[in-house]
Symmetry: C2
Subunit: 288 residues, 2 copies
C-alpha cells in the first residue's frame, strides 16, 4: 500500500481536513510559553497539544518547514520533533518544503525528506525546472510508497503572473505542468485509484474546477486556500471526488482558532474548528 | 553598497569563479575523514581546507543546502558552519536553496536565510508561484543590501519541459519570468549598474545568449553548467558583460579536481582547477 492509499483511507476515516502546523511563536496564547525553554521547544509543546486535541478530526497534518528554518538550529530540531509526533500519532504527514532542483541535488533532497531525521510521508515540490526535478523522487515512491504533491495551480494572487498565462497551444502554464505530472503518475498507481504524484490545486479559484478534477482523475489534490485566503466549502468541494481525493489545508484558522472562541481553551478551539471545517466540506460534497 | 555591488567588486578583484560547496561525504579523498567525527563535521573540515586553498581565485562561494539537509541535524550544523567560514574569509556567499513560497511563509524563508544561524549574502529562489513569491525578500534588499538569484533559464535537460515552452504572445516561459524580474529590479539598483534581483541563467545553451544578456543588462547572472554539464568557456562568456556581470559555478569539477590531478593534494588540485577555469573564462571574454 502506498502512502497515497493510506491518505485516502485516512480521509475516509476522519475527513479531509489537513491541519497545517505552520506554527509561529507569536501564535502561542499568552502564558503558554515556558520562558525556560527555547522558542523551538515551546513550539513543539504547542504542536503536541494541538495534535493530541485534533487527531480525531484530522485527515493528515502538514508541516511548513519555513517556520522552523526561520529559527535556525533550534527550529530544525523542533521540525524533526514535530514530524516524529505526527508519525507517533499514526497519522499521515506532509512536509511542505516546495523543493525544486535536479539530478544529484534532487536526490539529496529526496534523502533529506524521505529518510533520516526529517523523514516524512509526503513532500511538496516545485516544478519550474522540469520533469528532471520530479524524477529523482520516483525511486522512493516505487520502493517505499512515498508520495509528492507538486505545485500546479496555487491559491495566491500571484498565481496569475505565470501559472495562468496562456501557451501558444492554448493551454495554461498550469495545464502543461499538470499534464506532464499526470502522465508520470500513470506508472505510479496505488490501490485506491490515485497515483503517488499528487498536485497542489488552490481552492480560491473555482473556475474550471470541474474540468481540472476530471482531467486529473488519478491525482490526489492538496488544496490550500480554505478560510483565511477566501476558499469556501462549496468551491473546495468541486476539487474533491466522492468526498475523497483531496485534503484541504488550514493552518492559522486552526492554530489560532482560540482567538475566535473566547473562553475556550486553545486546543479545544482547534478541535472545534477542525470539526466545523470537516462538516462544512463534507456537507458541500454531499450537495454536489 | 549592496551585496550585488560587493559581488561585482569580488569578480573584478578575483574573477568570476563561483566555487560550489555541494559537498557529499563520498567526495572526500580516501583517508581524509576522521572516524571520530560525524559526517557533517568531516565535511566542514573538507570545506575549510577548500576555502583556504581556493579563496585567492574564487569570486564567491555557493553552498547547496540539499547536501546538508540530507544529513539531518548533523548536516544543518555543517551548513551553518560552512556559511560562517566563507563569511569569515570575507568572500560573498550564495545559499542555493531555491525556495519558493508566498506571503508569511516567504517572510519566514527570508528570515531563515537572511538572519540568524543560516544567514547568507544571497539566496536562490524559484519563481513558479508568481511575483508574490519574490516580493517578501525585497525589504531585506532595501534595508540590508541582500540579494537573490531567481531561476529563469536553467542548465538542465528538463528546462525544455516548461521553461522553453512558447507562450501565446510569442515569448518563452523563461522570457516572461525574466521580464517581470527585470522590471522589479529597476527599483533595486546598486552602484555598479546591477539590481539586487539576479537571475540563474544556465551556461549549457548558447542560443540567444547575446539577446538574453542585452535584454537584462541590469541583472547579474548566476551561471551554472560549466564543465561537467557541458558549458564551455566560449558559451559562458556570452552571458558575461565586460568580464563581469556574472559568476560561473563549478561544484564537483573543483571539489573533486584531485581525481584528475594524480599526485596533487586535493586542496591544491582545487586551487589549480579554479585558476584554470578563471583563465579560460577571462580569455573567452577577452576574445569576444
Amino acid at each position: 500500500m502506498t502512502n497515497m492509499d493510506k491518505l485516502f483511507d485516512a480521509v475516509a476515516a476522519r475527513g479531509p481536513v489537513c491541519v497545517g502546523l505552520d506554527t509561529d511563536f507569536s501564535y502561542l496564547p499568552e502564558g503558554f510559553a515556558d520562558p525556560a525553554l527555547t522558542a523551538g521547544e515551546n513550539i513543539v509543546r504547542y504542536n503536541q497539544a494541538l495534535v493530541d486535541a485534533t487527531k480525531a478530526a484530522a485527515g493528515c497534518y502538514k508541516v511548513q518547514i519555513a517556520y522552523y528554518e526561520s529559527l535556525g538550529m533550534d527550529g530544525m530540531l523542533a521540525y524533526k520533533k514535530t514530524l516524529e509526533m505526527v508519525k507517533n500519532a499514526g497519522i499521515p504527514v506532509i512536509s511542505d518544503v516546495k523543493r525544486g532542483d535536479i539530478a544529484k541535488t534532487a536526490e539529496m533532497y529526496a534523502k533529506a525528506h524521505f529518510e533520516g531525521d526529517f523523514e516524512s510521508d509526503f513532500i511538496t515540490l516545485a516544478p519550474y525546472m522540469g520533469m528532471d526535478s520530479i524524477q529523482p523522487y520516483v525511486p522512493y515512491m516505487e520502493k517505499n510508497g512515498k508520495g509528492v504533491f507538486v505545485l500546479v495551480r496555487t491559491s495566491n494572487p500571484g498565481a496569475k503572473d505565470f501559472e495562468y498565462e496562456k501557451l501558444a497551444d492554448g493551454r495554461h502554464v498550469y495545464d502543461m505542468v499538470g499534464d506532464k505530472l499526470s502522465e508520470l503518475g500513470k506508472s505510479l498507481m496505488g490501490e485506491r485509484g490515485y497515483s503517488s504524484i499528487g498536485m497542489v490545486i488552490g481552492g480560491t479559484h473555482s473556475e474550471e474546477a470541474s474540468e481540472i478534477r476530471a482531467r486529473y482523475e488519478d491525482s490526489f489534490f492538496l488544496i490550500p486556500g480554505y478560510g483565511a485566503q477566501g476558499g469556501k466549502a462549496e468551491d473546495i468541494a468541486l476539487y474533491m471526488k466522492n468526498g475523497n481525493g483531496g485534503v484541504v489545508n488550514s493552518s492559522r484558522g486552526i492554530l489560532m482558532a482560540w482567538k475566535k472562541q473566547p473562553g475556550v481553551k486553545f486546543d479545544e478551539a482547534a478541535y472545534n474548528e477542525c470539526v466545523n471545517m470537516k462538516e462544512a466540506i463534507q456537507n458541500a460534497c454531499n450537495q454536489l
